[in-house]
Amino acid sequence: MHIVVVGAGEVGYHVAERLSSQKHDVVVVDVEPKRLEYVANHLDVAVVEGSGTSTGVLEEAGIRSAGLLLAVTNVDEVNLVSCMSARGMPGVFKVARCSNPDFYRDARNLKPDAFGVDMLINPEGELALETMRLLHSTAATDIAVFAGGAVQLLGFTVKSEAPIAGRRLVDIASEEGDRPLLTVAIEREGETLVPDGATKIVAGDHVYVAATEAEIPRALELLGYEAAPIRRVMITGGSTEAFYLAKLLTQHRVQVTMLVAERQRAQELAEKLNKVLVLHGDATDVELLELEGVSGADGFVALSDADETNILSSLVAKHAGVKRVITLVNKKDYVPLASRIGLDAAVSPRLSAANAILRYVRRGTVTRVATFKGSDAEAIAFEITSASPVAGKRLAEAAFPKGSIVAAIVRGTEVVVPRGDDVLQPGDTTIVFVLPDAVADVTALFPS
């Protein structure tokens, strides 16, 4: 597919990278020549200099033959107008990134033909949602939710004291009976592998597990963790993500303390947020963190714009004994570092945005896509139609390519943990965990 990406910032870059590696033709549009140069040097994409709001520039980028327009600059208005400029183009699915909470709420009420927007995405909101789920799932480093929360894919690091460490998957499955701990992927020494029954789990492995809400406590136990309720959370930074998270947490009756470095922003947040204690102070001010009871907090989330500040304040929180520490990391190189220096989980605005966008790139039978931080694997939810070659087949017979595994089958409101003799029926939704090489083959199994 020909795809036009407007905006070569963090989000635009990452999305273009992702799409280009999946064999799409990507053209990146931006007003800043320096950024375009960087994109052109690092990615296999074409670049066009100019404003995405101009029809001429969009045409130069090949909007006429494009199937998708992704307007993902960090200015909402530019994104909306870009979609508007492409309104007359037939067959272009137009996605606009919209971060301003007020704008987002209002823009959702706009009829698609008012701005020509087919889809609004809010990466900051997505990140806040992901962070909250991470807080609640105690030990998970990654989380992706499917079928409205019925199935979750969680990433965990296996502890050495975990009961399953050093054992083969078949043995674990036979012991756990009806509801085995379904391991869909293992990340070991930088490699992602899709396991079979004979694969042995080793302490230190990063495993991806499919589980329903009710199964999560048992899964935690097997991996060597304890479940703990979240009652009080401290957030540092005054970013949009922090605003969304504070709002979400208070809605879930979690007591929130926010630490904001800029006086003006602190005032603004204090006015907008209810039942949140907003403090004006530096995130790395150890004395202040201690004064405000960081050690008594159940969770600590560092969401400022600076990676270094986030990592430092997270370390302080971890040192003070906070059980759950989540750190926002922008730079890709820092992501693997986070777990190595003892931080529980990292979130990345780049990834949240990519998740939100990739979900809509492969329309048709795809209902949801999730990506994970440490690996290039994706989890994709497909709807099975009668046209699909796997429809009506037993799972063992269905020819799923190497590098993919069915993580769950959702049938109505029921979630089936797949075994070889389960039959895939039309109307079911399957959640498939796929390595990048297998994406095209798997997608071919689910024609729309």
């Binding site: 005032q267 209810n274 907003v278 403090l279 102070g281 202040l288 004064l291 405000e292």
Partner: protein
Amino acid sequence: MNLKEVLHIVGALLVWVAVAMVPPSVMAVFDDLTIPWAVTTLGTALTGGLLWWFTPREVSINTREGIAIVGLGWLVVVAAGALPFIATGVAPTVAGAVFESVSGFTTTGATIYAAIEDLPRSILLWRSITHWLGGMGIIVLGVAILPLLGMGGAQLFRAEAPGIPSDRLRPRIASTARLLWGVYALFTAVLAIIYLVLGMSPFDAVNHAMSCLATGGFSTRTASLGAFGASVQWVTVFFMLAAGTNFTLHYRWLTGRWLVYFKDYEWRWYAAIGLIAAALCFVALGLASGDWDASVRPAVFNVTAILTTTGFATADFALWPAVCQVVLLGLMFMGAMGGSTGGGFKVVRAAVVAKHTLGEIKKILHPRAVVVTKIGTRAVRSEVLHNVLAFLALYGMTHGIGTIIIAALGNDLVTSFSASLAAMSSIGPGLGAVGPASHYGDLGTAAHVVLSVLMLLGRLEFYTLLVLVIPSTWQRAGGDQ
């Protein structure tokens, strides 16, 4: 400041007062007081007309003129309102007549008369009319009806009905004023009809309806609402509560937004405080008398009468247990909702002060906390907050000075304290020697003057009147800005 322009509007106001004097003048035929009433009415009309005629028509109202019109306008109007009491010879002193007129226009309802039934019916009607005009505001009425006030109407509106700025019902201030007066008149008419159905005489019904919706307190009976039955009293409780509610809420309710009251932050405080106070008084009264059934209605009625700053009474609460009296004093201070016809400090201001105080305590626990005072989910701007705190200080100081003067005139502590508070908050009856079973007639000329000033200060919320005595107000525009 252009005094001539101000006098032009004041002249128009006087003509309005004269028009309001027509119904009692007609009534006066039956009282054998035709001559004094005719003289008063025509005299007021003539003075007003001349002022209006011999001043320039071109009026440009800015903040200063606005405040001067309202301040001066009120002084002239209450002076004119005192004339019928003097002309008909029912007032023992001029100060007494002024006191009664001020008490009427400010919707206080404190009276110098011991036996109300002895007063001529024309005078009784005039007392209720002063309430009704003062309730929603005589200047606001002017803004609603007089086209020449259209331009600077907003300044006038703000000066007469201050408080915390609430949203306008209509973009144009004159339309907003018209809607508010419309709702006010409608409610008054509805209450009068209900009174008639419940068996009141037409005269009593009209007088009490006007007095009730204005949160006034003047009655045609010495026993106030105690002279009527239980059903009349319950209906009055309901309409007093309505009069103490922000009238913009009523308008929204009338236009089909049925739950508007419960969604309003200030109204929820108002209702909760009323309920708690009524419950407290009920329990205290029940424990003291042992007769629980007979304690419900007096507790609810008198608490409502004080909370809404109406000042009707069905019992002598000056004889109630001390705890009830303290609760009532607290309610006298707080008063009704902003945007209502009631007086007092106003519920919304009390809420702001309470929230702000809690915020200051929070700051002690969390020195780096960024504390924002909020009403509901809306942040209170710091200018508004400072205004409210300054208002609290003014309220406290003025009350203190008032109490000292009344006490210096030879009254006891409870009387002095409650009389000055009841005057400032436009309640009417206080405690001690000015309790509901008593009256203000014996306090003397000096006390009448002091209390009249307090009533005006409280009704116009200080600033409008205080600004009048600051010299720079009277300098020509362009002097100091």
